[in-house]
C-alpha cells in the first residue's frame, strides 16, 4: 500500500487526498515543493585544482 509522502501513514487508493492521508499533508508537501525542499542529490563535483594557492 502507498504511504503518505509526508507522514508515512498508509493511504488507501480510495482516499480523496491520495497519495496523501489528509489535506494537511497535501498542503505541507506542496509547500515543500514551493520552498525547494525537494532536491535529488547530484554527483559530487570534481575537487577543485590544487594549483590555485
Amino acid at each position: 500500500m502507498m504511504k503518505c509522502p509526508v507522514c508515512n501513514k498508509p493511504v488507501e487508493r480510495s482516499n480523496p487526498e491520495y497519495p496523501f492521508c489528509s489535506e494537511r499533508c497535501r498542503m505541507i508537501d506542496l509547500g515543500n515543493w514551493a520552498m525547494g525542499r525537494y532536491a535529488i542529490p547530484g554527483e559530487p563535483l570534481e575537487p577543485p585544482d590544487d594549483e590555485e594557492e
Partner: protein, 812 residues
C-alpha cells in the same frame, strides 16, 4: 397567582426585609434566562451544577469527601453531600434560619444590576436560591449539630420554617431534592451523559473527591462513580485516551502562592502530547470551566512557548531551523489542563468564561520553573517535544507557502512571458507543451518547434549545493509556479480545474542521462502528487530523444538506446564479413555469417554486460571466468548443496589463480567457495549468488555461446584476415568494423542537437515516438523519488549504485 399573594397568605413568617428577598426570587421566575442562561437544556442542567457547586465548595474547604447525585423517576434530582451541613441557627438580620436565607436570598452581592447577572453560561455565584425559585418543589434536609433538620419549598417559598426532626448522631451533610418547575422551564428532562461529563470534570479537578451519579429512570438503575486520585493528570490521560502519546506519563505540577492582598493561589497544570495536530487545553478557575481562557491560560501558554524555545536553543536542537517556535507550534498535539483556585475570582464576559484576575504572572513563573525542572530530569521527553514543535513549525511554514501558490491564479503573469514560448493555436485540444530543462535545450526546442500548436516551457532544474559541492536536481518555487500558471489548471483541492488545462499533451523532454531522469522523476512525482488528474486522463507524455546518430554518406540514422545502437552496429559490421571459429586448431572449423553471426555477436555483447555485473559483486574477474564454465554444474540450489560441485569450482578457481577455499554454508545446508578480493574483503560464491538474475543470465548466455566460443576467431573481410584469441577482442573488433566509415555521435544532451535534428527526431508528430505516462509509471516515479529523497542514506546509495547510469525506461 403572584408571589406576593402567597406571601400575604403565609402570614407572620416574613417581615418587610424578607419581602425584598421574595421580590428577588420573583424576578428569577420572571426572567430565568437572565440568571441561569436559558430555560432549555443548558439552564436545566445548570440547576444541578449550582447545587453540586455548593457541595464542592465544602470539599474545597476540606469538609466533604462524597457527593451523590440521583436523578429520580419524575426528573427531580437529589444531591447529597457529607459536608458540614448548611448552618441552621437563626440569622440575626433576616430573622429566619441561616439555611432559609441561603435558600431564598440571591447571592453575588445581591445587587440586581445587569453587569452582575448578565451571565448566561454559568450561574455560579447566583446561588442555590435560583434553583429554589425555579423548582415547583424543593426539599431540604440538613444533618448538623446532632440533629436532622428539614424544610420544604414551593416555587422558592417556604411552606414552613426549618424544623428540627430526629437525631442525626455524628452524621453531617446536606441533602437537597428539587423538581424543576415545568411552568417556567422549557426543558425538564435531564440528560445522564451531560451531567456525567460535568461531574467527571469536577472529580478530576478535585482529586480524592468521590462523586456518584445515579439514574433511577433507567432499568436497571444506571450508576457511575467518579473518583480520581491522580487529579488533572488523570484528566489529561482521559482526554488522550485512544491516542498515540509522545510520552507515557503526563507532566504534572502543582504549587501554592500567597497573594499580596491575602488569600492563597493554588495552581495546578497537567500536560501530555499526542501525535495529533490540534491542541486540547482546558482551563479552570475555582472549578469553573473558563472556556474563553483568561489570565491563567495566557500565563501558561507564554511559559510553555518560552520554556520549549529556551530548551531547544540551549540543547542545540534547532540546527538548521532558524526561526523561533511560535505558540501554535509548541501547542500542536498538546493536551493540557490548567486549574487555578483563588479567593474572589474576577470573571469577564457574558458566559463568565474568562478569568480576569491578575494572576498570569504567577502562573508563568510557576510553569517556567516546574517545566524546566521536568525537562532537566527527563531530557528524552524534552527532546521529543522540541522536535515535534520544530516539525509543526516546518509544516506551518510549508502550508503557508502552499497557500501562496494556490492563491496566485493569474493565468499568464509577467513572470511567465520570458520562460514560456506559447503557441498560436488557442484550442487546447490541438495544443501541446514541452517541458524542457535548461536554457540551451529550451532555445533549441524553441527553434525546432511548430509554433502553430507547440509551446515550450524552459525549466531550471539544477541548483548548486555549495555545502556539498555538487549540483542537485530541484524544481524551485518559481519553476513550480510558472509551470502551474502555464498549464492553466491552478492547484490545490478547491482550485484545480482540469477544464482550464491549456494543452492536450504535456510532454516532458529531458536529456537521456541520469540528470535528465532525475528531472523527469521530479516532474512525474509532482504531477502524481498534485495534479494526478492529468495522469488519469492521459495528458502526460515523455519525449524520446535519440541517444545516437549514425551518419554514413548522405544517410543518417537516429537511435534511441544502447541496445538498438549495438544492434545497428552489428548489422552494419556483418553485412560484408564472416568469422571462422578456430576450435583451438582441432576439429572441423565453422564459418559464421549473416543472421547466425549476428545472433552470436548479440549474445556475446549481452554476455559481456552480465560478466561486468557479476564482477561488480565478486570484484575478481578470474572468478567470473570460472563461473562462466558451463561444464561445472552451478545452477540450481541443489547444485550448491552438493559438496563435490563446489569442490570442482574451488579447483577451477585455483587453476585460474584465485585462492579459494571450500566452506560450509550452514544457513542453507549448502557449500560455498570463498576468496578475497584485492582489498582483502571476503567474497563468496554461494547459493545466494545463484539466485541473482545477473548470475542466472550469465550462465544462460554462457551456454548459448559455448558452441562457438572456441578461439581463435578469424574475421574474414574481402581479402583481409584478422585473428582474435578471445571473445572480448572479437567483440571489440567487430564493433569497430561497424563504426567504420560512419560518423557516430552520442548525444549527451538535447542541447547537442540542432533545432532541425531535435524537431525531426523528437518533436515532429509525424516522426517522433511519445510514451504516454500511466498511473503505474507515476507510482514508480514516486517510489524512486522517495528513495532518492529518503532519510535512509544507505538505501539511497544502494539504489543509485544499482541504477547507475541506467536510465529507467518508462516504456508503455
Amino acid at each position: 397567582m403572584s408571589l406576593n399573594e402567597v406571601n400575604a397568605g403565609a402570614g407572620d413568617v416574613y417581615d418587610s426585609r424578607s419581602i425584598k428577598v421574595l421580590e428577588g426570587l420573583e424576578a428569577v421566575r420572571l426572567r430565568p434566562a437572565m440568571y441561569i442562561g436559558s430555560t432549555g437544556e443548558l439552564g436545566l442542567h445548570h440547576l444541578v451544577y449550582e447545587v453540586v457547586d455548593n457541595s464542592v465548595d465544602e470539599a474545597l474547604a476540606g469538609y466533604c469527601t462524597e457527593i451523590d447525585v440521583t436523578i429520580r423517576i419524575d426528573n427531580s434530582v437529589t444531591v447529597v453531600d457529607n459536608g458540614r451541613g448548611i448552618p441552621v441557627d437563626m440569622h440575626a438580620e433576616e430573622g429566619v434560619s441561616a439555611a432559609q436565607v441561603v435558600m431564598t436570598k440571591l447571592h453575588a452581592g445581591g445587587k440586581f444590576d445587569a453587569n452582575t447577572y448578565k451571565v448566561s453560561g454559568g450561574l455560579h455565584g447566583v446561588g442555590v436560591s435560583c434553583v429554589n425559585a425555579l423548582s415547583e418543589r424543593l426539599e431540604l434536609e440538613i444533618w448538623r449539630a446532632g440533629y436532622t433538620w428539614q424544610q420544604e419549598y414551593a416555587a422558592g417559598i417556604p411552606k414552613a420554617p426549618l424544623q428540627r426532626m430526629g437525631k442525626a448522631g455524628k452524621r453531617t451533610g446536606t441533602k437537597i431534592t428539587f423538581r424543576p418547575d415545568p411552568t417556567v422551564m422549557d426543558a425538564t428532562v435531564f440528560n445522564f451523559d451531560t451531567l456525567a461529563q460535568r461531574l467527571r470534570e469536577m472529580a478530576f479537578l478535585n482529586k480524592g473527591l468521590t462523586i456518584r451519579l445515579t439514574d433511577e429512570r433507567e432499568d436497571p438503575i444506571k450508576e457511575h462513580e467518579f473518583h480520581y486520585s491522580g487529579g488533572i493528570a488523570e484528566f489529561v490521560r482521559h482526554l488522550n485516551r485512544g491516542k498515540q502519546v509522545l510520552h507515557e506519563k503526563p507532566i504534572h505540577c502543582e504549587a501554592q502562592r500567597e497573594l499580596p492582598n491575602g488569600g492563597t493561589l493554588t495552581m495546578e497544570v497537567a500536560l501530555q502530547y499526542n501525535d495529533g495536530y490540534s491542541d486540547n487545553i482546558f482551563s479552570f478557575a475555582n472549578n469553573i470551566n473558563t472556556s474563553d481562557g483568561g489570565s491563567h491560560l495566557t500565563g501558561f501558554r507564554s511559559a510553555l512557548t518560552r520554556t520549549i524555545n529556551a530548551y531547544g536553543q540551549q540543547e542545540n536542537l534547532f540546527k538548521d531551523f532558524k526561526d523561533s517556535l511560535s505558540g501554535d507550534d509548541v501547542r500542536e498535539g498538546l493536551t493540557a489542563v490548567v486549574s487555578v483556585k483563588l479567593p474572589q475570582p474576577q470573571f469577564e464576559g457574558q458566559t463568565k468564561g474568562k478569568l480576569n484576575s491578575d494572576i498570569g504572572g504567577y502562573v508563568t513563573q510557576f510553569v517556567n520553573e516546574r517545566l524546566g525542572e521536568y525537562f532537566d530530569k527527563n531530557p528524552t521527553v524534552m527532546r521529543k517535544i522540541v522536535t515535534k514543535a520544530i516539525e509543526a513549525a516546518r509544516a506551518r511554514e510549508a502550508a503557508r507557502k502552499a497557500r501562496d501558490l494556490t492563491r496566485k491564479k493569474t493565468a499568464l503573469d509577467s513572470g511567465l512571458r520570458g520562460k514560456l514560448a506559447d503557441c498560436q493555436e488557442k484550442d487546447p485540444r490541438r495544443c501541446e507543451i514541452f517541458l524542457v530543462e535548461g536554457e540551451s535545450a529550451g532555445g533549441t526546442a524553441k527553434q525546432g518547434r511548430d509554433r502553430r500548436f507547440q509551446a515550450i516551457l524552459a525549466l531550471k532544474g539544477k541548483i548548486l549545493n555549495v555545502e556539498k559541492a555538487r549540483y542537485d536536481k530541484m524544481l524551485g518555487h518559481e519553476e513550480i509556479r510558472t509551470m502551474i500558471s502555464a498549464l492553466g489548471t491552478g492547484i490545490g483541492k478547491d482550485d484545480f480545474a482540469i477544464d482550464k488545462l491549456r494543452y492536450n499533451k504535456i510532454i516532458i523532454m529531458t536529456d537521456a542521462d541520469v540528470d535528465g531522469s532525475h528531472i523527469r522523476t521530479l516532474l512525474l512525482t509532482f504531477f502524481f502528487r498534485h495534479m494526478q488528474e492529468l495522469i488519469h486522463r492521459g495528458h502526460i507524455f515523455i519525449a524520446q530523444p535519440p541517444l545516437y546518430r549514425i551518419k554514413k554518406g548522405k544517410s543518417e540514422k537516429y537511435i534511441k538506446d544502447e541496445k538498438d545502437f549495438t544492434k545497428e552496429i552489428m548489422r552494419r559490421a556483418t553485412e560484408n564479413l564472416s568469422v571462422e571459429i578456430g576450435r583451438n586448431g582441432e576439429g572441423p572449423k565453422d564459418t559464421l555469417e549473416g543472421a547466425a553471426l549476428r545472433a552470436f555477436l548479440m549474445s556475446l555483447d549481452e554476455f559481456e554486460q552480465m560478466v561486468r555485473k557479476v564482477e561488480r559483486r565478486l570484484r575478481v574477474p578470474a572468478a567470473v571466468e570460472a563461473l562462466a564454465d558451463v561444464t561445472l554444474p552451478l545452477d540450481s540450489k541443489a547444485d550448491f548443496m552438493e559438496r563435490a560441485n563446489i569442490e570442482h569450482l574451488v579447483d577451477k578457481l585455483r587453476e585460474l589463480k584465485v585462492e579459494a577455499t571450500l566452506v560450509p554454508d550452514e544457513a542453507h545446508a549448502a557449500w560455498a567457495a570463498v576468496f578475497r578480493d584485492a582489498t582483502h574483503a571476503e567474497r563468496r560464491v554461494d547459493l545466494e549468488l545463484s539466485g541473482m538474475p545477473e548470475y542466472r543470465r550469465l550462465r544462460g548466455l554462457a551456454r548459448q555461446i559455448a558452441q562457438y566460443n572456441e578461439p581463435p576467431f578469424v574475421v574474414v573481410k574481402d581479402t583481409r584476415r584478422d585473428s582474435s584469441d578471445h571473445w572480448t577482442a572479437l567483440l571489440a573488433h567487430i564493433k569497430e568494423e561497424g563504426k567504420k566509415d560512419a560518423s557516430v555521435q552520442r548525444y549527451k544532451g538535447l542541447g547537442e542537437m540542432n533545432a532541425e535534428q531535435l524537431a525531426d527526431t523528437t518533436m515532429n508528430p509525424e516522426k517522433r515516438t511519445l510514451l504516454r505516462v500511466r498511473l503505474e509509471d507515476a507510482v514508480e516515479s514516486e517510489e524512486i523519488f522517495s528513495t532518492l529523497m529518503g532519510d535512509d542514506v544507505e538505501s539511497r546509495r544502494r539504489f543509485i549504485e544499482e541504477n547507475a547510469l541506467e536510465v529507467k525506461n518508462l516504456d508503455v
